[in-house]
Amino acid sequence: MSEERALLKGSAELLLLALLEERERHGYELAKLIDERSGGAITFHVASLYPLLYRLERRGLISGRWVEKPGVRRRRFYRLTAAGAKVLGARRKSWSEFFAALTRVAGLRHA
């Protein structure tokens, strides 16, 4: 895996975990939120989002469940697990340190 892709994947996981920290969401909602909040800079489509979600679920960081309500097609909602919350905390910290370093070294400025 190229460095760029690894970086991207790491950041994508951070994004998903962070969004699920707020509340349960289904897959499309996650993709839409990322798209909106990044102003279109980061997009997930159906073929790239679900492998990520399934992998996170497999690692026990998130857990999905089907919710069936009258009149609506059943949907799969994902929520952050306790393990996921822990990993999210650690990721936030390392990304912050990473950005701080980048800022110092490369003169980046926070958006």
Partner: protein, 897 residues
């Protein structure tokens, strides 16, 4: 509303995961695409563009499938198959094996069921084979055993007995033998301090051990000087007798020992490895050997005194056929020289030791091997069926691998490795079963089967088990592998073959269920016929009443009992003492009682009816009894009178005959009052027939009554006797008292083989009961496996057809319709299997004929019962799946479409 699931499915096909997970993934992706499309439309795109954009990410089908399948939860994802590297066959096989083990561990239900069936199938096969191996295949423990033979005139039981003088002529005039020898049964009563003990023994010619190729472990072998009238009071002991009675003391050699009241000298001890097989064939394993010690001057050394068995070792450069021809010529010559001494003419025969010892158990063992073979086939059919079901679930995975470049050969090889691992594990478990079960067999066997106790898991058994396991892998793996090689790529990846009701996998599995049923019919029919035979046998009227009778053997041997008067007097004393015991109604002795051993016969010569060939005169079995014998055994008097105390050595010699003897020899019904000579036609007293009693089944319950006659113990005194006691209470409660009573008046008389006569009766059906028990066991295993097989196929087919059933239910099918739909297809298969099974059973139960009694091998009522039992089990096995089918909810079943 647009069917997004179908749109997604069309683009992606199926994921290599379980069907339900596959459905969930497609569902979730379809949701996503649908919502994306809706958002795009509401943002102003037209429908077609929105469609295109929403579905665009799915264009790279293979990558999407791979990414998602890899990311999905591991228990649902297939392990990644090892890559193929040309030229690395061994490494590939190891990788395949690892992969296979991972796959098997991933479906514990399948693996456990398959292993259980294979272990049961291979276990019973290995167990029975270890018996066959020990009894039939392993060479006898003698030097060059294939050349050792029994020699004699062809009789109903192989080679007949021979008289001493005849034997000497065979030895001197024949050319085919390296050496010939004699054996006869013998028993020795050791009277040490305490209770006298009777030890089974053999009298043998001095070259006996050399003939077999056995050397004593201690002391010296017999010499020709020992084998004389004056010199034969020397004995060789078995290792176990030496350890038991002489504490393994090497100084026992040369020590005197009192046997049957006579002084003997111990000259040798045999090695512990020596197997006394020939004596086992007579009665029980011998523990003591003495020389024959005859010469031609003895009265019982005559040509017609046929109580010895001749054995020989055929020269290594002479064929069996030539040796038979040669000895046959010798015997024909003897017949010409001594016409009066030989009976009806017969040819000579040589029976190899192996056949003599185990020939009689061969058919039963063949039946057992056949039965366990069927059990294994049923196990194979079931495992094949399980594999096919698994294959249907794995088809997507296999198709995907093929699409990704794996050759069909590679995939089939992977499956073969899996099957081999499964079979090897089943074989190992089967071996464990055999290792546990084999030592139990001798304790279950009703009769002493020569060499059965030697059965154990050895290299031969290991080899058999390995070969059987591999053959099993081929048999059960064949159909699934063929199926795998034919997986239709396009149909599997695009279509949805699992939802159709008639896919080829189902058909193959139904065929296997049919095979299961057919094989189970055969086993159950065999078991049923045996159960019926044993039942019929126990219903047979043996001609006497065994219940409430205790039997015990006593023997009067030694100098104190050389005179008949002494034996008679002591017998009277013993009987009187036994009479005093509480609850005893009648007491008697007999030279032999029914169902306890060989019925010796004596020729009878009728006064006033000269015989052209006295040796060919009728030969009824003779039983020497005391007066109360007929009351004890409740043998009915048909006419005339029974023996009484007035029939003494001094009174007129009398005889009682059985009905069959009376009818055969005096068809006009005038037997009573006739006079006959027993044995020697020219000498001895004429005995008057005074009564006719009912026939008795002496040899075995299955054999029709033979010709019988009875002599009073006072006039024809036997010294090996069986005491029979009729009591009001349970005969076994009398054992200790009876022993004590005998010892109080005859401390030098050993008491052996104490048993209620009813035990003798049930022991006499023992061999059949043993076959019956084993067939019952195999039948039960077969029935269980068949039930599991039927359940598996029907349950799977219901799961497979959930949608179809849902559609039918939605279209108005009643529960009854659905039950008929599911049950109908299953029961048709079962019915076809039943018919095939009955045909197969009719063809194969005839191999059981020798063990059957009173039941034809194709007994219709047995077959009907078997069919009913199997059919009922088949219906029961389908109950759960059928109930599940009637509970299918039409809406949820349809929603998945």
């Amino acid at each position: 509303m647009r069917d997004w699931k179908t749109l997604v499915r069309q683009r992606l096909g199926s994921f290599p995961v379980t069907p339900s997970r596959d459905a969930d993934i497609v569902d979730e992706l379809a949701q996503h695409v649908a919502q994306h499309h809706a958002d795009l439309v509401s943002s102003g795109l037209d429908d077609a563009d929105a469609m295109e954009r929403a579905l665009a990410p799915l264009a790279d089908r293979e990558r999407v499938i791979r990414d998602i399948a890899r990311a999905d939860r591991p228990r649902r994802a297939a392990p990644v198959p090892p890559p193929t590297r040309p030229g690395h066959l061994l490494a590939d096989l190891v990788a395949d094996a690892r992969y296979a083990v991972r796959l098997l561990r991933k479906s514990p239900g399948f693996t456990a069921t398959a292993l259980l069936m294979l272990a049961a199938g291979l276990g019973v096969n290995t167990t029975i084979f270890s018996v066959v191996n020990a009894v039939l295949l392993r060479p006898l423990p003698y030097r060059d055993p294939s050349r050792l033979v029994m020699i004699g005139e062809r009789g109903s039981n192989g080679a007949g007995n021979v008289g001493y003088t005849t034997f000497l002529d065979w030895r001197d005039r024949s050319h085919g033998f390296e050496d010939v020898g004699l054996i006869r049964s013998w028993s020795a009563t050791i009277v040490p301090d305490g209770e006298p003990e009777r030890v089974a023994g053999m009298r043998v010619s001095s070259n006996f051990f050399r003939l077999l190729g056995v050397r004593p472990a201690l002391g010296r072998d017999f010499t020709p000087e020992d084998d004389t009238v004056a010199g034969w009071h020397v004995v060789v002991l078995s290792d176990s007798l030496w350890r038991r009675r002489f504490a393994a003391d090497p100084a026992a050699i040369g020590r005197p020992i009192s046997l049957n009241g006579l002084a003997f000298t111990i000259i040798a001890v045999l090695p512990p490895s020596f197997e006394p097989l020939l004596s086992q064939h007579f009665y029980q394993p011998a523990d003591i050997w003495a020389p024959v010690g005859y010469d031609t001057s003895l009265p019982y050394a005559c040509r017609s005194c046929e109580h010895l068995k001749a054995i020989g070792r055929v020269k290594s450069d002479v064929s069996m056929e030539a040796t038979v021809r040669d000895i046959d010529g010798v015997q024909a010559q003897l017949r010409r020289e001594h016409p009066a001494d030989y009976g009806r003419s017969s040819t000579m025969t040589l029976v190899p030791f192996a056949e003599e010892l185990t020939g009689s158990v061969k058919p039963a063992l063949a039946v057992m091997m056949g039965a366990v073979g069927f059990v294994l086939l049923i196990a194979c059919a079931n495992v094949a069926s399980l594999l096919l079901a698994r294959m249907a679930r794995r088809e997507h995975d296999l198709a995907l691998r093929t699409a990704l470049g794996a050759s069909r050969g590679r995939i089939v090889r992977q499956l073969l490795v899996e099957n081999t691992i499964l079979a090897a594990a089943g074989g190992a478990a089967g071996l464990a079963i055999a290792w546990w079960a084999v030592p139990l067999l001798p304790t279950l066997a009703p009769v002493a089967i020569a060499r059965l106790s030697n059965a154990h898991v050895d290299a031969g058994v290991l080899a058999f088990s390995a070969a059987a396991s591999m053959a099993t892998a081929v048999v059960f793996g064949l159909l699934p592998s063929l199926r795998a090689a034919r997986v239709d790529l396009q149909a599997t990846l695009h279509g949805d073959s699992r939802r159709t009701s008639r896919n080829p996998t189902s058909a193959a599995r139904r065929l296997l269920v049919g095979v299961d049923v057919a094989l189970a019919v055969v086993l159950l029919a065999g078991a049923g016929l045996m159960i019926k035979s044993v039942g019929r046998l126990l219903e047979v009227d043996p001609g006497f009443n065994p219940s409430g009778v205790l039997s015990m053997q006593i023997s009067f041997v030694g100098p104190a009992y050389t005179a008949s008067e002494a034996v008679v007097a002591k017998t009277d004393q013993i009987l009187a003492k036994l009479h005093e015991l509480p609850g005893v109604q009648h007491v008697a002795t007999a030279s032999e009682i029914p169902l306890s051993g060989n019925g010796d016969c004596s020729t009878v010569h009728i006064q006033g009816r000269p015989s052209p060939s006295p040796a060919d005169d009728p030969c009824p079995e003779r039983y020497g009894v005391t007066p109360e014998y007929f009351s004890v055994m409740q043998v009915p008097l048909r006419s005339g009178r029974l023996f009484s105390d007035a029939d003494t050595a001094a009174s007129e010699p009398v005889l009682i005959v059985g009905q069959r003897t009376a009818a055969a020899l005096w068809p006009r019904g005038d037997a009573i009052g006739q006079h006959v000579r027993v044995g020697d036609p020219d000498n001895g007293p004429w005995r008057k027939i005074i009564g006719i009693v009912g026939n008795v089944r002496h040899q075995e319950l299955a054999a029709p009554p033979t010709m019988q006659m009875y002599t009073p113990q006072t006039q024809f005194t036997d010294s090996l006797l069986t005491v029979v006691i009729r009591t009001e209470s349970d005969p076994s409660s009398l054992i200790a008292d009876a022993r004590r009573a005998i010892r109080s008046v005859a401390s030098d008389v050993p008491v052996d083989n104490v048993a209620p006569v009813e035990d003798l009766v049930s022991r006499s059906v023992g061999p059949r009961r043993f076959v019956m028990r084993l067939l019952e066991l195999f039948g039960a295993i077969a029935l269980l496996m068949t039930a599991v097989g039927i359940y598996g196929v029907i349950a799977y087919s219901v799961a497979e057809r959930t949608q179809e059933i849902g559609v039918r239910a939605a279209l108005g099918a009643t529960r009854g319709d659905i039950v008929r739909l599911v049950l109908g297809s299953g029961l048709t298969t079962v019915a076809i299997g039943l018919i095939a099974g009955i045909v197969l059973a009719a063809a194969s139960t005839r191999y059981l004929e020798g063990s059957l009694y009173g039941v034809p091998a194709t007994d219709a009522s047995t077959f009907v019962i078997v069919a009913v039992v199997l059919f009922s089990v088949a219906v029961l096995a389908q109950l759960m799946p059928v109930i599940r089918a009637t509970r299918v909810d039409p809406s949820s079943a349809l929603r998945q479409e």
